[in-house]
């Protein structure tokens, strides 16, 4: 059985992407450390590397990709059920501030 893995794309990310279908209790190698999955996480989906409190930023590719819509435990599956999509807000706020000369 090959070791199961999760890939953290940037050092600042608080989520990683699992490289294979993962079951609760599976131990995963990730960026030199290890991590235990608490949920089933399908290949290509995100897994929390740290505890992410409700309202905190989900960081992947070293940028904010959404907000935690509830407290997320390390090893939990991170997806639409616990992430708020704030794309609109991020893009609109940036653009408004940029055009107003505040950026």
């Amino acid at each position: 059985m090959m070791e199961k893995k999760a890939i953290r794309i940037e050092a600042d990310d608080n989520v990683a992407v699992v490289a294979q279908d993962t079951e609760p209790g599976d131990s995963l190698i990730c960026s030199g450390g290890s991590l235990t999955a608490v949920d089933a996480v399908p290949a290509g989906h995100k897994i929390a590397l740290t505890r992410i409190p409700r309202g905190a930023e989900i960081v992947k590719y070293a940028v904010t990709i959404g907000l935690a819509s509830c407290d997320i435990e390390p090893g939990a599956h991170v997806h639409s059920h616990n992430v708020e999509d704030i794309t609109d807000r991020l893009c609109n706020e940036y653009e408004r501030e940029f055009r107003a000369g505040k950026r």
Partner: protein, 395 residues
């Protein structure tokens, strides 16, 4: 600075190949152009247009054919026309010749028919090949290279391994003084704030934001829906993408993290080296975008495909990589580089540096799978005419 051996053209630009092209001016001359190219083992460019086109479309046809001939990878060109088509063969000939390379033109009606044109064309191409064979590679540097980046036929590994690996390569090209061209702007909405934040100046930041605002408005006008309403798609979500920022970042990751020098329309000259965004909104199969990069002077493109893709381009090699180790094993005959090692545990940084090494080898003459397999697509990227704010039409 890393040195490469390449062809320096009289206009100062550098090519990494010395291709001879046979370009058809109109669909009526396609078969003759193809037969000449086949008989001489050169590369044909054929297309479905060149006559009775509206001005907007014809301007794009002429631009695409001219840009093919002017690409620094091209050493010499034969133009093959019918004789009564809309495309002005002499105008195209002059525009390509001004880049300082031999260009000949023949017309089927003038040569006395297809067999005569074919015979004459083959003779001319043999002469052009002789001229190209006498040219030698000279010492050049990465600073002379214009490198395109693209993805297509994506799967869950594209945004995870392949595109971040391309991003590392892009940063290395820029650090060494070279240029990177990124297009696929339809995939920008959702991360335009990130791209704008990397703009080299406030003016360029506005260029990026204006382009994406316009694109968003076009979607609403055409489809009555905002892009966020249909993205991420159910398929994206099933694959693990949660938000549009996340989806979009997977695309722009190929650019690396260098400063964005500006946004260029197709046909607009790159004023200085660096990372540039090409505003090509043609929606279609992958060769649309690849051809757009070649039209802008890219001499090689790093192209990632999770599912595997054979596509190449008539005027530039395409380095195929996949982020999926299984795809690499199954489709090695069309894939040059396995970024899937990242899935197996290799670092993104190290794998990106290896891709950069391969890029330099390809620049020095190593053939890509797309070239070995004879994938020399050239698909003119068609964009719908858009109304300008003044009420007229522009490209």
């Amino acid at each position: 600075m890393a040195g490469i051996m390449a062809y320096r053209r009289t206009d100062g630009r550098v090519g990494i190949r010395n291709y001879v092209l046979v370009i058809s001016m109109v669909s009526c001359s396609n078969s003759v152009a193809e037969r000449i190219a086949r008989a001489t083992k050169t590369i044909p460019i054929v297309h479905e247009q060149g006559c009775t086109e509206f001005e907007h479309d014809h301007a794009r046809t002429v631009l695409a054919l001219t840009a093919a001939g002017r690409n620094p990878n091209v050493g010499a060109v034969l133009l093959v026309g019918l004789g009564c088509e809309q495309t002005d063969i002499e105008g195209v000939r002059k525009a390509i010749a001004s880049a300082g390379k031999p260009v000949e033109a023949i017309l089927i009606q003038k040569e006395g028919g297809s067999p005569q044109a074919e015979k004459r064309g083959i003779e001319i191409v043999q002469e052009l090949k002789g001229i190209c064979a006498s040219q030698e590679r000279v010492p050049c540097s990465v600073a002379d290279l214009v490198v395109g980046v693209q993805c297509g036929g994506s799967d869950w590994t594209t945004a995870l391994s392949a595109n971040p690996v391309i991003g590392v390569m892009s940063d290395l090209v820029i650090e060494n003084g070279g240029s990177v061209l990124m297009s696929e702007v339809a995939g920008f909405p959702g991360s335009e704030h990130i791209v704008a934040s990397r703009a080299v100046s406030r003016e360029v930041g506005l260029q990026v934001l204006d382009m994406i605002s316009e694109l968003r408005a076009e979607y609403i006008e055409t489809y009555g829906q905002r892009i966020e309403e249909v993205n991420p798609t159910p398929g994206n979500k099933a694959g693990g993408i949660t938000t549009l920022v996340e989806k979009s970042m997977g695309n722009i990751k190929k650019m690396g993290e260098s400063k964005v020098q500006g946004v260029l329309k197709l046909g607009e000259e790159m004023p200085r080296p660096g990372l540039w965004v090409i505003d090509n909104r043609a929606q279609g199969p992958d060769p649309f975008n690849l051809t757009g990069l070649a039209m802008q002077g890219a001499v090689v493109t790093a192209f990632s495909s999770g599912r595997g893709s054979p596509v190449g381009n008539a005027v530039m090699p395409s380095i195929k990589l996949t982020g999926n180790p299984d795809t690499f094993r199954r489709l090695e005959s069309i894939t040059d580089f396995n970024a899937g090692v990242v899935i197996d545990g290799a670092s993104i940084q190290e794998t990106g540096a290896n891709l950069y090494d391969l890029l330099l080898e390809v620049a020095g003459g190593k053939e890509t799978k797309s070239e070995i397999n004879g994938n020399f697509e050239y698909t003119i990227p068609r964009e719908a005419a858009r109304k300008s704010p003044e009420g007229g039409c522009r490209r």
